[in-house]
């Protein structure tokens, strides 16, 4: 009988701690599929800093490192510089990457570190119970913006792909979503492209994945996917913000 669905080898066969309806599982799976398809599990080192994905070291079969909050791109730099032939990825949430770890993120990108950054944007701090994230939308109610994010008080959301696309060291900055099968397929292609960039030493690749957090949004999993589509995508448009491969074809200057 033909096998229609198989767990990727890179994805450990263990229960995860993620909430029902959370899209981490989808992203873990497509990331694992890319690692399997490229046959690089034995050479891959993953880094998961503080946040909902902090325990992802138990979910990926490659070697894993748990990093301090926000510091994954610096840890990844140390790993990649010590072992240049390995594949290194970080898996970071929005608070981690765009608040406490902004400095490490921007500088890893501008150095053109040959690493892959998977950036989960769900507009909230999930692990600590739903506080305002740097990506929280204007008006969004969170534990620390109980009256909605007021941009005159709490400022504006950080658009990470747009920001990093301005840096010469960035090879790929692409925003994807995991709310539908076509979007999931697109997300997987982006992750694959990011790892191919690392293989070809093209520089820093970030794939921003618009994700859901039904628990802290107070929505059912289905409603959460609707919110992602109806509220997040209009504010964070999907697409390729920078692709060095396109530049190589003469369409864009550094």
């Amino acid at each position: 009988m033909a096998v229609a669905y198989k767990r990727p080898h890179a994805y450990c066969d263990v229960p995860t701690h993620y909430c029902p309806g959370c899209t981490h599982g989808i992203v873990h799976r497509i990331l694992s599929e890319v690692i399997d398809e490229m046959g690089i599990e034995g050479d891959t080192i993953g880094i998961c800093p503080v946040g909902c994905s902090v325990m992802a070291y138990d979910y990926f079969n490659c070697d894993m490192i748990e990093a301090p909050h926000g510091r994954a791109p610096a840890v990844a730099t140390g790993v990649k510089r010590a072992k240049p032939d390995s594949y290194v990825f970080t898996y970071q949430g929005d608070g981690d990457l765009a608040a406490i770890g902004t400095c490490e993120t921007v500088h890893a990108a501008t150095r053109g570190e040959n690493i892959v950054v998977i950036f989960i944007n769900n507009t909230t701090y999930g692990m600590t119970g739903g506080q305002m994230a740097p990506t929280t939308l204007p008006g969004q109610v969170t534990q620390t913006t109980p009256f909605g994010r007021d941009t005159s008080v709490q400022g504006f959301p950080v658009k990470v792909c747009e920001m990093l696309s301005t840096l010469s060291g960035t090879a790929l900055a692409q925003r994807v979503a995991v709310d539908s099968v076509p979007h999931i397929n697109e997300a997987k292609k982006a992750i694959r492209k990011a790892f191919e960039n690392q293989k070809e030493k093209r520089g820093f690749s970030i794939v921003e994945v618009l994700s859901t957090c039904p628990t802290n949004w107070g929505l059912s999993p289905v409603e959460a996917l609707d919110r992602l589509r109806n509220e997040m995508i209009p504010y964070y448009p999907l697409g390729v913000y920078k692709d060095v491969n396109v530049r190589e074809e003469g369409k864009e200057d550094a």
Binding site: Y57, D63, E66, P68, T77, G78, V79, R81, A82, C103
Partner: protein, 352 residues
């Protein structure tokens, strides 16, 4: 090979680290240790290693965390305010049982302080270099030669015990020039089967981690680490004991201050005062038994430090408060003079 060179402390230490097999250096500029970075920036790549200037002290220590996770010998270097910034990363490195070497060429504090020599990070290095229950090895060189020897040793001990080791130097040692001889490096093999360097499809995946959400599991990991610390306290202490056999007054001093204190001890002996010097070379573990031996005949102890008396408690604990401990110190970047210390010794000696 035993060539003798005249070198600045910072540069000699950098050269020693390279010879000891340090393959990655991550640092951020700060006075008075920047020569270490400058030296390694010039030399590292030619020696098959990597020099990388980080965007911050925080990034530098986390790059060390990454490189150390792969089983690669690595180092970072800073001075007092920069070490404070690194303390989060140092706690994670200690909790993840990773070996690395950290240099602190101390300057005056607190705050931005000054850029002149100081020993005011004694407490930080030996008692509280980050959150949680942990220690790191702390070596206190007193000469450019010891900057070299202790750096080489620090890499070995870090690997042996899978923990960070610090060279707690000061601006005086970093900046002064002295002749040095580089020791022959004996290549040692250490078990690095724990490293996260890619499993090559030949073993289970390795995990470098400091998170343990089950209290008993976390407790056990800390207890295991403290059993290692107990062994280190028994075997890894080191001290210089000078003219203490018949000493009435034992002067305790570490690092560059001990050089000045030694001059004062000699001057005191010239005046007929039976003074001796005890110099801990390891600050953690503190050389308790060596100090007990050194003060066998002593009626008084004088701690001399470039701070406000941070070593006094360790001296009192080691000697079980049986001998009164006085203190003379200069701080803020002021280096004590031999005559000042001599005056204090004479004062103490007057009523013996």
């Amino acid at each position: 090979m035993s060539e003798r060179s005249l070198m600045k402390g910072n540069e000699a230490l950098a050269e020693a680290a390279m010879r000891a097999g340090c393959k990655c250096f991550f640092g951020y500029p700060i006075t008075p240790q920047t020569e270490i970075s400058a030296y390694l920036a010039k030399k590292m790549s030619a020696n098959g290693g990597l020099f990388l200037q980080a965007e911050s002290e925080i990034a530098a220590i986390n790059m060390v965390l990454g490189a150390a996770s792969t089983g690669t010998r690595c180092m970072t270097s800073s001075s007092s305010p920069g070490i404070s910034l690194k303390s989060e990363g140092i706690s994670y490195i200690a909790a993840s049982d990773l070996p690395c070497v950290i240099i602190n060429v101390q300057r005056g504090g607190p705050g931005l302080g000054g850029i002149q020599p100081s020993q005011a990070d004694y407490w930080q290095a030996t008692k509280g270099l980050g959150h949680g229950d942990f220690h790191i090895l702390v070596y206190a060189p007193a000469s450019v030669q010891e900057m070299v020897d202790m750096a080489v040793n620090a890499f070995d001990k870090a690997d042996q015990y899978r923990m960070p080791a610090m060279i707690l130097a000061d601006g005086l040692l970093g900046q002064m020039m002295e002749p040095v001889t580089f020791p022959e490096i004996k290549p040692m093999e250490y078990d690095k089967s724990w490293a996260a360097s890619g499993h090559k499809n030949k073993r289970e995946h390795n995990i470098i981690n400091s998170l343990f959400l089950t209290p008993e599991v976390l407790e056990n990991s800390v207890i295991e680490r403290f059993e290692r610390y107990r062994k280190i306290e028994e075997t890894e202490t080191d001290a210089e004991i000078y003219l203490c056999n018949d000493a009435d007054i034992v002067v305790c001093a570490f690092g560059a201050t001990a050089r000045v204190a030694k001059s004062a001890v000699n001057l005191a002996r010239g005046k007929g005062i039976k003074a001796g010097l005890f110099r801990p070379k390891t600050l953690w573990p503190f050389p308790v038994n060596e100090l007990k031996d050194a003060v066998k005949t002593a009626k008084k102890i004088l701690s001399v430090e470039m701070n406000m008396g941070q070593m006094i408690d360790d001296i009192k604990l080691a000697t079980e408060c049986k001998i009164p401990v006085s203190f003379f110190g200069r701080t803020g970047g002021v280096i004590p003079k031999p005559m000042e210390i001599l005056d204090k010794i004479v004062d103490l000696g007057g009523d013996i």
